[in-house]
């Protein structure tokens, strides 16, 4: 299994799908000659040509919507929204159109569209290029929401997203693009809706997504030294959610910390906490802790930005507060 970056994993999956299937094509700003603003689609124009790797105007509503229309005709378009902040401009097409056509038509229509987008802080982009908006999309019946944290998950989940007959919003984290892992050469699809336990443990479960999975793994490592056994679980698919995996884990560890880069208020962690306290109430030895960004827009100056977003020490502190209970 060759070492592959998260960026390459996404690209290789797109290429594999396009090679086997003429219905798959890409639309997005600067994805052709430039290979995408994050370099993810690098080289695809050369292999697949400009009909299938389509540079678009800056029209986030129309390109999402063109994806919807093509998907209804049986294509499997993959649309890239350059920064997830700009998904604010596609919300009508994603939420009122893509997510609802099947239902409103009484099951006649399906919309096998994949919307890839990326974002996240940590490199001083300022407040309009650093949103983490996965929570919004999880509130929308009819959508699926995927957020891989590793190269192998990116590959296997993107494949399943493209071949899912529903619209999937697929989140990538900007700072994860360079990370490397072994990814099977032959694409191995990963079923949507299945969580991944990255590391087993017995004292506390950290439910983490995106960049924070890696933070959680480091915290788990450190925690061992202090005699705390941490289980790290990444839902990977946020909607539908693998409730069983999460609940089972917390029933075993009796404690839960949930962490993501978005602000905690109304963030994805709120859903995890609400769910876990409901389904594992009698098993909980401590309140479920949420760790996310402080409640501000993302500031520019690196010193403030780093202060706002969550780090190992924040997650570790939450783990310790949790374990200190009883």
């Amino acid at each position: 299994m060759p070492e592959t970056t998260y960026r390459e994993a996404v690209r290789d999956c797109l290429a594999a799908a396009m090679r086997q299937d003429p219905d798959v094509f890409l639309m997005g700003e600067d994805i052709a000659e430039m290979g995408g603003s994050m370099g993810v689609t690098h080289g695809l124009l050369e292999e697949f040509g400009k009909e299938r790797v389509r540079n678009t105007p800056i029209s986030e509503a129309a390109i999402a919507g063109a994806g919807v229309g093509a998907a209804i005709q049986g294509m499997r378009p993959v649309v890239e929204i350059m920064y997830q902040d700009f998904i604010t401009l596609s919300m009508e097409q994603i939420v009122l159109q893509a997510a609802k056509h099947r239902y409103m038509s009484g099951g006649q229509v399906s919309v096998p569209l994949t919307v890839r987008t990326q974002g996240g802080a940590g490199w001083s982009p300022g407040a309009q290029h650093a949103e983490q908006l996965e929570a919004w999309l999880c509130h929308v019946p009819g959508l699926k929401v995927v957020y891989p944290s590793t190269p192998e998950d990116a590959s296997g989940l993107l494949w399943s997203s493209i071949y899912d007959d529903n619209t999937v919003v697929f989140f990538e984290h900007r700072t994860l693009y360079p990370i490397k892992a072994n990814v099977p050469e032959a694409l191995s699809p990963i079923e949507l809706g299945k969580a991944r336990v990255h590391r087993e443990g017995s004292d506390v479960t950290i439910v983490a997504i995106g960049r924070l999975v890696h933070v959680a793994l480091q915290v788990a490592e450190q925690a061992t030294e202090e005699g705390i056994s941490v289980e790290v679980l990444d839902p990977r698919t946020l909607l539908p959610l693998d409730e069983d995996a999460i609940i089972n884990s917390v029933m075993k560890t009796n404690r839960c910390v949930v962490t993501h880069e978005a602000v905690t208020r109304m963030g994805f962690g709120a859903e995890i906490a609400a769910l876990v306290q409901e389904k594992a109430f009698d098993y909980l030895d401590a309140p479920i802790e949420r760790v996310g960004s402080k409640f501000t827009p993302i500031p520019f100056a690196p010193v403030m930005e780093q202060y706002v977003i969550p780090h190992e020490e924040d997650v570790m502190a939450a783990v310790k507060r949790t374990v200190a209970r009883i």
Binding site: A62, G65, G69, I72, E92, Q93
Partner: protein, 327 residues
Amino acid sequence: MSRGVTKLEQPTRLSRETLVSFLEEMLLIRRFEEKVEERFRAGDLSGFLHVALGQEAVAVGVCRTLESDDVIASTHRAHHHCLAKGMTPNALMAELYGKLEGCSRGYGGSMHLYDLATGNLGANAVVGGGLPGIVGAALSFQLRGEPRIAVAFFGDGATNTGAFHESLNLAQLWSVPAVFVCENNHYAESTPSHQHMPITDLSRRAEAFGMHCVVVDGQDIEAVYLAATEATAHARAGNGPVFLVANTYRLTGHYVGDPQVYRPKGELRELRETQDPIPRLRELLGVDEESWSALEADVKATVEASVEFAKSGTDPRPEDALLNVYA
């Protein structure tokens, strides 16, 4: 109205047979819509209904130029497009009654009418919301080399939306086989055009994209049909999308029940007298009282049958609501 004589002072460019079939279809839509108004007032129908009295010629004139595998997307005001594109009155009425036999199985309602079998991709309750999808549908026809076209219907008010601009821009840029039919009825809800648009000639909208544009009197079905024939042929031939402006009039309220306080006094009466496409075509054809009555009777029977069909349809079970969320 003239009785019993075929007046041909104004020569028709289409065969009498064709025009008579147009008249039939338009009358069916008219009576269907009036029935909807009646059934709403009677308390049979729930939700939010918009009928298209006065705009029948646009729907019929355009849809009659389409092939059955061409697709359309419509708006909140959709019944006329649906019927013209081939949805049965039964399936439509049943939907308005919220029945499983409805075109959308009762999940959609008046603003969400789908009929994939007749190429109807759905009414859309978001103004401008259906346009991007039409670009995508047309793009897929282009990519697959299929000789199909995709048609979006929308109102004058919709031309103020960002979605309109982005969609036409993208369509022209990629030269997809789409026709954008603007049904300019001079109002967006209560707001007259001069209060919501800085221009009066809607063809100027197409200038921004260098898109081919055709403007037509939407109350003259023959003119609509001929303009649409040109537009759809242009798109189908791969010459790029077309912006087709049909100037028309809404001869009723914005929604069923609209008291229309915003209308200048007398406007509605005057429009009904001068701008009704149905008497206009009847007159052109010189349809006599007898043929007219026969026509009316046919249409009435169809409409009544649709109400019967709808009323005796199956209510969904409450828990059916949980189906169809995901494919």
